[in-house]
Symmetry: D2
Subunit: 398 residues, 4 copies
């Protein structure tokens, strides 16, 4: 893709986000997804008509086939609003499930699940984290799928299954061979949510908000939930390897989105600093503390973007496995930048920053999770240290 083509796409995306999606935010904040559903669908339809839906997918599935480094630029534009990725049908966890099915789904799975997912006709979820097992230890799962004839029977409980509310199917990690080495115990199974024994227990209130639809995090029970062997994605015991492959890009998708969040928060900070008077004629922007907050955010966001784009380029060029340490690096670094940029934005906004009169408070409370999900900071730091220390003959245990 040439630069001009790319810039043309970015320009169109930016217009849709800043002139359309952003306008839905006040009603979304006041009333949730339900309050904006028809307008959100209309925007999605416009995106579909402009050929920009699911831009990360190859043309065979209706996408634009963008390499990750270009998609990254686009994702930053979408991150400007919490609604952006959904409107373009590249929101987590669907974006990760699409990539997983694209690369590892069977022909039947692609036809029956990937195609409607790519078209935005259905949504999906990914059930991995368990309430009783540390999410930072992905090889230690309590959920099992035991083979019975040609079926698997799944039992267990998952939580933080994002978007479970309204999902047409779940991809679930379950132990299929308890005697195998830890990294070979689990398999991935695709479970339509109408399957008997599958149950959405609740939308977990997160930071005070149970949410709904794709803005929700479900607790999900599997109780004797039976699926055929063809529900398995990839080989038996390949669950952990596939999850790693899925999570690498998944993490970078988050990082790319966070850059957009940061840019919007900094933009709002500047607008506020330029406008708000502390006394007649004395603007917030004249205060050194505000100037320095703006400068620090600007520097950190630029650093974050360069690191993320470098990682995206490496994934494009060498694959996700080669970039594993880079992904750990950006996961904790960018989450930290996001945390600080949002904190500064709230502080400069003062009481206004706490209200629902701007989008900042939504991000402040919901993006605290960034330093936890898909591996907490502590795990990614040790993972990066393992990579750095290996040439020195050290094997870091995590």
């Amino acid at each position: 893709m040439g630069d001009a083509a790319r810039d043309g796409i970015l320009h169109r995306v930016r217009a849709i986000v800043r002139e359309g999606v952003v306008l839905l935010e006040p009603d979304f904040l006041a009333g949730g997804l339900g309050a904006i559903a028809p307008r959100l669908d209309a925007l999605r339809q416009r995106v579909r008509e402009e050929g920009l839906l699911a831009p990360h997918l190859p043309p065979a599935y209706g996408g634009a086939g963008l390499p990750l480094a270009v998609f990254g630029r686009l994702s930053e534009e979408l991150g400007w609003s919490p609604l952006g990725h959904y409107v373009f049908n590249c929101q987590a966890p669907d974006v990760g499930n699409m990539e997983l099915l694209l690369h590892h789904g069977s022909a039947e799975q692609k036809e029956r699940f990937l195609r409607p997912l790519a078209a935005g006709a259905i949504r999906s979820c990914f059930a991995m984290t368990e309430p009783d097992r540390a999410g930072s230890n992905p090889v230690w799962l309590a959920t099992t799928a035991r083979a019975e004839g040609t079926d698997y029977v799944i039992d267990g409980r998952k939580w933080f299954t994002s978007g479970a509310d309204g999902a047409a199917f779940a991809i679930v990690m379950a132990v299929t061979d308890v005697l195998a080495p830890p990294h070979k115990r689990a398999s991935m199974l695709l479970v339509p949510t109408e399957t008997p024994g599958y149950r959405l227990v609740r939308n977990i209130p997160v930071m005070g908000d149970a949410g709904s639809g794709y803005f929700s995090h479900g607790e999900v029970a599997f109780e004797g939930c039976r699926v055929p062997a063809t529900a398995r994605i990839g080989a038996p015991g390949a669950g952990f390897a596939l999850a790693q492959e899925r999570l690498g890009p998944g993490r970078i998708h988050h990082c790319l989105r966070w850059i957009g969040v940061c840019e919007r928060a900094l933009h709002m900070t500047c607008e506020r600093a330029a406008r708000r008077e502390l006394a007649p004629g004395v603007r917030l922007a004249s205060k050194q503390a505000v100037q320095h907050a703006i400068a620090e955010s600007r520097a950190e966001i630029d650093a974050a973007r360069l690191l993320v784009l470098r990682t995206a380029e490496r994934i494009d060029a060498e694959g996700a496995a080669a970039a594993r340490a880079d992904v750990s690096l950006i996961k904790f670094f960018v989450a930290g930048v996001l945390d600080r940029v949002l904190d500064r934005a709230v502080q400069v906004h003062g009481a206004l920053g706490l209200t629902e009169d701007t989008i900042l408070s939504f991000w402040y409370r919901h993006e605290r999770a960034a330093r936890i999900y898909d591996g907490p900071d502590e795990v990614h730091k040790s993972a990066l240290a393992r990579h750095v220390l290996r040439p020195y003959g050290v094997d870091v245990e995590i």
Copy 2:
């Protein structure tokens, strides 16, 4: 008060909080104040019967007449739960209003408003901050109260009027003499909320939660709202001076409460670290990052407590005016400790810390305001610097 008497009170308070108040938290988180109203009232009744209601007030008003330094210890116990201060009828902003009326109210105001407030029969609010004027500049108000005969007619708009929902009266800051020097322009007026022209516009959603009752922050309109001159508290033009006097102890009340919040958060962090397994037999507490988080919180909380108690002792001994710089010091220092202690607690709890399954998420989002309300960090730092630099011949403008 002797040490034994004090310890006896603290012991009783602690029992009520830890064995009673805390048990209401899950239903409060799930359903708000409404879901626990009868049980909350029952606890209050028990406190009333034990003679512990409004412990900061003198016995003439039914209180225990505790000096601030002793009340501080008690307040820390109450801070263990967000419901603690309410149960003992010493929650903000009522606690500040009681002190204000006690020291500056007319006999009539004391009888008609302070007495039922002290008894927990009514609630009140304090209307100072305005949406269009920086809260950090308390002498720059748009709300006016113009004299008409023996009345004042109030016009203006306030927000972050905490507890306006359900309050029986508001104490409002309004400009009564626009031509006076800035610190002499405003007066304080006591406005019963049934007064025509007074209107609660909305409970402002704060961090996603509009709340209700005393857990709410109102936007309040004064539209030709007429009150008699006897509604004034103190002298004409004394509003700013009274607000300073009210806010000094008000800030220390917050700091005292925050210590309690911090202790609970650290306690929960330790419990979590001791219990949570990362792998079979490997506890979170074995991780150096968790240990260091606990040690840093322990040290910072101890530092915060000592600073707050020193300030309380100074206020007891020398009055609020003498301790103004100390109050600025603890306001930003303790708010910073609170911020970090809660952040570490959430991080150690992982995904659980984001849910409503513990009280942490409630505090994480609601106490972000601590670095903003009653003067943002930036203002208190400059105020402290002004005090420190004065002996060097410098007059810091804020």
Copy 3:
């Protein structure tokens, strides 16, 4: 000791430090201890004549018998200059050695070594840390003292033996029973430095400065160094226990001194901010970044002092063992405050802060060690966490 007596002493100490000791700093910075030796001795003589030498010791040894909490106030005054403690003969490591001999020395050791040490006639050193063994693990020593008849023969190498240059004797930690449990292996031996086999290898250049006399850190070799059994302090195998007892107060002595360093640095920062012009009529103090630096230092120093004094009071009341966790807490907390206060002072001084035209640069480079010696931050944080987590059933390994 009454408050008036204490304040009288503090007043006299302050005068000697601020009107005498401080005046030697420029020549000390330019030429080292050698350049000021006669004037330093003269000041010491004055202190001796005023009866203030070795104020931490009981009157039987010529001291003032101050409790630790009072000595702490005095030590803060002395810390105002890097020369203060020496002038009053309570500098590390002599202060710790005096306490050790006072409580555990034999009658002969007290007479022969403690008495001249207390009188300031000789100096001493403490040889514990070894170049090849982590200082953070005090039970893992390579230096041995094997019994031969009624003698010990010591072999090994120590470093960071502060003040070895010019010391009349060293107290050395050496393994006397390699088969004992780790905490019982070492004993303490008092070795006069003229003993054959004892050798000062070098004064280690620390932050570019090898120093001399009591401002130096020696590397010391023990090569078949023979001392009689009467050289042992305390029981065989008691070395670790005695070292713990010695280091607890030793650490608090450092913390008390650091408070003084911080106060001086903040004082200099304020003077600089008040005086330095950025443009005609525009003082550094008008800059918000400078104000906030001052406020943060003020708050952190106050917090540090309160924590240190609380610990001193506990040691006075309950002994060093009871205060072990408190000592760990202040060791890392106050070292961190010192680090930040000095960093801010240097930054506000700009280029001047890097030169030897003020005392700041001396402290900046020499006090970096504060976060390392007598246990690095990391060890003290884990030690505090062990204490905090014990009631939760966790035993933290360090």
Copy 4:
């Protein structure tokens, strides 16, 4: 320049630094430049023979004509040792003076001063900062050069004139038109150091070390120092503009070098962590605190490098003026990274990190200046904020 050519150069540079220059460090630390002078010259001669001297200059002056972005990679290699840039004759302040003369020197100045400077036959210095005027305000100078006939007569005092000791000439900023607007008052004059009235007062002890030769910072007096009008570089009154042009790349030269310092410090940290035992078989690298320190340094260094290279590319493509805000951004960001990376390296090295047994202590004390020279952090943050806020209609005063 093709990638292969560039990589070939980098490979040769790396070999000279790591196999040659680094070996001189111990004697340099023990005895200063004097102790290694012949070996340093020999290395320089080898570099000269390999055609790598002054690699930033065009071939006409014996250089390699590298664009800044390529030179940046090379500079990082050189930064591995504090002696690297000198060996390749691209050390500050000569590198900046060379660029200044190259672009703005007269033909005579180029022939007489630039050529021997480029050849490494002489050294030079740059006299701008004054002891009595804030370095952060470059338009406020006390040094004057008044016109007398066709001469200038210079009077004033400068300090932090790096490398003045042994320099053949100084380029000095002096006010030539006191009535002009502030940015037009000063001119740049080239003053051979044998000129009467020029005097090196002292090498300022910086962090305890007066240094010598190019490792020194001079205080310089101009006392009726007379130079001909041809000594002026550029137009009358162009001093500030030229200084800005000189300092932009000068700052990036520092940043590029700091990346090399950081990489070496991280490398040493990893080696130490891998080798040092805390107990038999327990390596420092097994500690989470050490792992996290390594990960944070790795992430921050990568961020710093990407930001610096982006800035170098912009300067190559658009010139220094277009990149002014970028330069401010990297100046404070990379100086902060340097500060933290060195601090972590020292901490992981423990007592060893304080000694002269490694290069860390040298950097720790000398690179504290990085957050001060060429504009303190505070000024660059406000400068960046000015750039960021301009589109919002705000004009930030600094």
